[in-house]
C-alpha cells in the first residue's frame, strides 16, 4: 500500500510552484512563478471584454423573458399605474393613460421600446414609489452594496478560518461542532435568523438597534450610528452565507492535506501553522474561488430577506414593495440589475481564479 505513493510526486505537477519537487531542477518552479510577478492585464482585459460581449445576449434574453411574463400577467398595467385613482377615473382618461404608457402593443415592441430608452438611461417610472426607476436605483444601491460587501467579506474570512480549524483534525470535537452548526445554519432561513437576532440583541440585550438606518430621533446618518445599524443585518447576512464557505474550505483543505505539496512542506519541517495557512488553505481555497461567483445569487437572495427584516433602505426592500404592488418597471430594472451583478460575480471569480492558479490560462476561459 505504501510503495506506490512516494513515486507519484515526481510525475505529477504540484499545484503551486513554490512547493514543486525540486528533483527536476529549478525550471518548473521558475516558470510557474514568473507570471505572478506582474498582473496579466492584457488577458484579464480580454476575458472581461469577452464576458461583456457574452452578457449582452443574456441580458436581452432575460429582459425579453420578463416582458413575456408580464404580458401573460392577469394584471392591467394601467390600473396598476393609476392605483386608487383608476376607480374614479372615466374611460377617456384611462384610454389616454393607456396610450401614454404604450401597453397595448405586442410585448416584443414594448420590450424594444424599453430597451432603447434604457440604453439612454431612462428606465421608466416606478408606480409604487412615484419616482423614476433610475433615481430609485441610484438612491438605494449604495446601501445594498455596503451591506452585501461587508457581509460577504465577513463570511469569507470567518468561513476560511473556521474551515481550516475544522479540517485541522478531521472528526475531532471542533470539526464535528463546526460541521453540524454549518449544516443547521445552512438549512435555516435568513429571515428567521434575522428575527431571532433582533429578539436577542435588540430586545433582550438591548445592545444594537432592531432595524433602519438611523435612530428614531435623528435623520442624519453618522458613521457611528451607521456602524451600529449595520452590525446586525451584516452579521445575519454573513451568518447565512458562512456555512457554505466553511464546508467548502474544510473540504478543500482536507483534500489538500493529503496532497504532495503539503507532504513536502511537512517533510521540510515547516511549522504546522505555515503548512495549514500557507499551503493547505491556499490550495484548498482554489476550488472555492471558482464557486464564489455562484454565490452572488445567494447573496442577493439573502439580502432581499435580511433587508426586509431590518427595514434596511436598500434595493432589496424596494423590490419587495414593488412586487406587492406589481410595479413592473421597477421590478424589471431590479431584476436586470441583479442579473448584471451575478454576471459580474462570475467574471470576478474567473479573474481571481486565473490569478491565483498559474496553471489556468485566462485566454482559454
Amino acid at each position: 500500500m505504501t510503495a506506490p505513493t512516494p513515486g507519484v510526486p515526481l510525475t505529477k505537477a504540484a499545484p503551486d510552484g513554490a512547493t514543486a519537487p525540486t528533483g527536476d531542477g529549478p525550471q518548473p518552479g521558475g516558470a510557474a512563478r514568473a507570471p505572478r510577478a506582474a498582473l496579466p492585464w492584457r488577458p484579464m482585459a480580454g476575458l472581461a471584454g469577452r464576458r461583456l460581449l457574452a452578457a449582452v445576449p443574456v441580458l436581452a434574453a432575460v429582459t425579453l423573458g420578463l416582458f413575456a411574463l408580464a404580458a401573460a400577467s392577469p394584471f392591467d398595467p394601467v390600473k396598476q399605474y393609476a392605483g386608487d385613482a383608476a376607480l374614479r377615473a372615466d374611460a377617456a382618461t384611462l384610454a389616454q393613460l393607456r396610450e401614454n404608457l404604450g401597453v397595448d402593443v405586442h410585448f416584443t415592441e414594448q420590450w424594444w421600446r424599453w430597451l432603447t430608452s434604457a440604453l439612454g438611461g431612462d428606465l421608466g417610472d416606478s408606480s409604487t414609489l412615484r419616482q423614476p426607476v433610475a433615481q430609485v436605483v441610484t438612491e438605494r444601491i449604495g446601501w445594498s452594496v455596503l451591506l452585501c460587501a461587508v457581509a460577504f467579506v465577513l463570511a469569507v474570512v470567518i468561513g476560511a478560518l473556521l474551515g481550516v480549524a475544522a479540517a485541522r483534525r478531521r472528526g475531532g470535537l471542533l470539526d464535528r461542532c463546526v460541521t453540524a452548526t454549518a449544516y443547521v445554519l445552512q438549512a435555516a432561513p435568513p429571515f428567521w435568523l434575522g428575527l431571532l437576532a433582533v429578539w436577542l440583541f435588540a430586545l433582550q440585550l438591548g445592545v444594537l438597534p432592531a432595524g433602519g438606518l438611523t435612530d428614531t430621533d435623528s435623520d442624519t446618518v453618522t458613521a457611528g450610528s451607521l456602524l451600529r445599524h449595520l452590525a446586525l443585518p451584516a452579521a445575519v447576512l454573513a451568518l447565512s452565507q458562512t456555512p457554505w464557505f466553511v464546508l467548502y474550505v474544510r473540504q478543500g483543505v482536507l483534500d489538500a492535506l493529503g496532497e504532495d505539496p503539503v507532504r513536502g512542506a511537512r517533510a521540510r519541517g515547516l511549522k504546522e501553522h505555515t503548512v495549514l495557512y500557507g499551503h493547505a488553505l491556499r490550495s484548498g481555497l482554489l476550488p472555492v474561488l471558482t464557486l464564489i461567483g455562484s454565490r452572488v445569487p445567494e447573496l442577493i437572495t439573502g439580502a432581499l430577506l435580511v433587508e426586509t427584516v431590518f427595514s434596511w433602505p436598500g434595493i432589496a426592500s424596494a423590490t419587495v414593495r414593488a412586487a406587492t404592488a406589481s410595479d413592473f418597471p421597477l421590478l424589471a430594472a431590479l431584476t436586470v440589475l441583479a442579473t448584471l451583478a451575478v454576471l459580474l460575480g462570475n467574471l470576478m471569480a474567473d479573474l481571481l481564479y486565473g490569478l491565483a492558479d498559474p496553471r489556468v490560462a485566462l485566454e482559454e476561459m
Binding site: 434574453a61 432575460v62 432581499l304 454576471l343
Partner: protein, 311 residues
C-alpha cells in the same frame, strides 16, 4: 458503481446493523473510519426516525386530532410553551404546534409538487438537449445559463408579483426557476453515457434517436435525477417560506411556515419568541432530514462525492 468493493457504506442499510469493516480492520485508520461510519449510521437513523415522525404528524394529525388550527382563543393569547400548548400560543391564541404541523403540510405539499414539476421539466430539457446535440444543445444551454444568472428568489418574486400570490403561482415560480440545475445534471450524465458500449450497441442495432434516449439514456440517469429531485424539496420549501414571509406566497390566513413567521413578527418585537422560533425549526429539521437521507443515498450511488450538500 463499477467497483462495489470500494464503497463500504453501500453494505449498510439505513436501519440495519453496521457491517464489519472490510479490509484491515485492526489498523488505527480503520478504527477511525469505523468511528466515522458509526457516526454516519447514527445520522441516517436519526434522519429516518425524525422523517417518519414528521411524515406521520403531517399525514395523521389532521385526520385524528379534532382540534381546529384556526380556532381563535383570545383568552389564551401568547401563552408561553407549557404542557397544554408545547409550543405556546400565538397572538390570537392559536396553538403554535398545531399550526406548525399544518404549515409543514402546506409547505411540504408545495415543495413536493414544485420539485416534481421542476425535475420533470429539467429531465425533459436536459435529455432533449443532450440527445439532439449540436445547435439545439447550445441554444438550450444558453437559455439555462440565462435563467441561472437571475437570482432564483428574485425571479420567483417577479413571477408571483405578475400573477396573484397563492399556492399555484408559488409552485409555478419554484418550478420555473429550479429546473435548470436538474437539466444541467441530466445533460452532463447523458453526455458521459453516450460513449458507453451499450449505447453503441443500441445504435448499431438500428434503434432510433428517440428510442435510444427514452429506453437507454434516460433510465441511465434516473438515479442522479431522482437525487436532484429529492434535494430540491427542501430548496422548494425554503423558497416557499421565503416568498410567504415576504407576503408574496401563501395567503396570510393559511398556515404555512413562512406566513407564520411573518405573522409572528409583531409578537416577537413585543418579546414573545415562541411563535417565531418553532416555525423556523420546522423548516430546519425537515431540511436536515431530507439532506441526511439524500446524502446517504448519494454515498450509495456515488461514493466519491460525499462532501458537498446541495441545499
Amino acid at each position: 458503481m463499477t467497483a462495489p468493493a470500494a464503497d463500504p457504506s453501500a453494505a449498510e442499510g439505513p436501519g440495519g446493523p453496521p457491517t464489519p469493516a472490510s479490509g484491515g480492520p485492526w489498523s488505527a485508520a480503520a478504527s477511525a473510519r469505523r468511528g466515522r461510519r458509526d457516526h454516519r449510521t447514527l445520522r441516517v437513523r436519526t434522519s429516518v426516525v425524525l422523517g417518519v415522525a414528521l411524515a406521520l404528524a403531517v399525514l395523521l394529525v389532521p385526520l385524528l386530532v379534532p382540534l381546529d388550527q384556526q380556532a381563535v382563543d383570545l383568552a389564551n393569547k401568547l401563552r408561553p410553551p407549557s404542557w397544554e400548548h408545547p409550543f405556546g400560543t400565538d397572538d390570537v391564541g392559536r396553538d403554535v404546534l398545531l399550526r406548525c404541523v399544518y404549515g409543514l403540510r402546506v409547505s411540504l405539499l408545495v415543495g413536493l409538487v414544485a420539485a416534481l414539476a421542476a425535475s420533470v421539466l429539467g429531465v425533459c430539457v436536459g435529455a432533449l438537449a443532450a440527445s439532439l446535440g449540436g445547435s439545439v444543445d447550445r441554444l438550450v444551454m444558453r437559455v439555462v445559463d440565462g435563467i441561472s444568472s437571475v437570482p432564483h428568489l428574485l425571479l420567483g418574486v417577479f413571477i408571483v408579483a405578475m400573477f396573484r400570490p397563492g399556492v399555484w403561482p408559488v409552485i409555478l415560480s419554484v418550478g420555473l426557476t429550479h429546473w435548470v440545475s436538474t437539466a444541467r445534471i441530466v445533460r452532463a450524465e447523458i453526455h458521459s453515457l453516450r460513449s458507453r458500449p451499450y449505447i453503441d450497441a443500441a445504435v448499431s442495432g438500428g434503434a432510433s434517436r428517440w428510442r435510444v434516449t427514452v429506453r437507454h439514456l434516460v433510465p441511465g440517469v434516473w438515479p442522479q435525477a431522482a437525487l436532484a429531485a429529492v434535494l430540491m424539496v427542501p430548496h422548494a420549501i425554503w423558497h416557499e417560506s421565503a416568498l410567504s414571509f415576504l407576503g408574496l406566497g401563501i395567503p396570510p390566513h393559511q398556515a404555512s411556515l413562512g406566513t407564520m413567521t411573518e405573522a409572528a413578527r409583531g409578537s416577537l418585537l413585543a418579546g414573545d419568541w415562541w411563535p417565531t422560533l418553532f416555525p423556523g425549526l420546522f423548516i430546519i429539521v425537515p431540511t436536515l432530514v431530507i439532506a441526511g437521507l439524500a446524502g446517504a443515498w448519494r454515498e450509495r450511488i456515488n461514493p466519491r462525492r460525499r462532501s458537498e450538500l446541495m441545499l
